[in-house]
Symmetry: C2
Subunit: 170 residues, 2 copies
């Protein structure tokens, strides 16, 4: 056995969020260079019925925050979804990272079998702690990270896979 | 400890690929309904310097296949990257799933510390077996899965998060 509930989630979420910060920094440079209103970038979508960049970042943060809080029985910090600039989205990520940094591996012990209930407006999902990690947290987190990346790539921001994966395999 | 090298990867990869099959099936229905040449769909991209749908599916498959083969010291089946239709991409996924089905958890034991070397044209990445899972396989797999989804969503294929996550939390 090589992964704990903690090691299978928190380090991955932290790396992903740090990479997302770098991606948003390149979006800011793009906005500056092109003299584009950054709010236009934050409101960009890939399809009219898909969520905009702001929401992709918010949900990536909330997936990470929710995972950390639920599996460790820690109070979940509440963030309002009111970011309209790239700077504000960076701050949202910083606040999420600061929360994840407060968590320690011991707090996650035994969370494999914990009942996790996610109530959405249209559906309620029931997971064991372990299934929550593999069936919800990881695919969902990377979904919103990648969609944020894809929105920016589609706009013309100069990004590559290295920005998404970060410095790995060194 | 709750995850082995096997359980942290293969079941997630299998679920993801099965969901991708469903997503491509909806793309086929869309092509049929709109009388669009499916080859146009397979060649679609989000940006001129991003990879097309075919390549996103091929890399998702290869990330899964490579993970299974490398961690279990199994010969890696070789697939030519010659798919030009949605049917052929479905077949690629089927062949990948068939390979993953041949692997058993015992074969992955001890792979945490195995040296994994990925040689790309521009860079060589060196991982431990465990870092390979968390820093490469999972983020990379979900990246290509999500990008395939995003390309199709952008074209107007009717897809929702449920198609990507699959039936979970039941």
């Amino acid at each position: 056995m090589s992964f704990s509930q903690y090691s299978a989630t928190i380090p991955l979420l932290i790396s992903g969020l740090k990479n997302l910060k770098g991606i948003l920094a390149k979006a800011q440079q793009f906005a500056d260079a092109k003299k584009v209103n950054p709010q236009t970038i934050v409101a960009s979508r890939l399809a009219v019925d898909m969520l905009p960049l702001s929401k992709q970042v918010q949900i990536a943060c909330d997936t990470a925050k929710g995972c950390g809080a639920r599996l460790s029985d820690t109070d979940m910090p509440k963030f309002e979804d009111n970011e309209t600039t790239l700077d504000e989205l960076q701050l949202r990520i910083d606040r999420t990272l600061a929360f994840l940094d407060t968590l320690n591996p011991e707090g996650f012990e035994g969370s494999e079998d914990k009942a996790i209930v996610l109530a959405f407006p249209s559906v309620t999902l029931n997971f064991s702690g372990q299934d929550y990690v593999t069936q919800f947290v990881l695919p969902n987190f990377y979904f919103h990270l990648t969609t944020a990346y894809a929105i920016l790539r589609h706009l013309g921001v100069e990004l590559g896979k290295g920005d998404y994966l970060g410095r790995v395999g060194g």
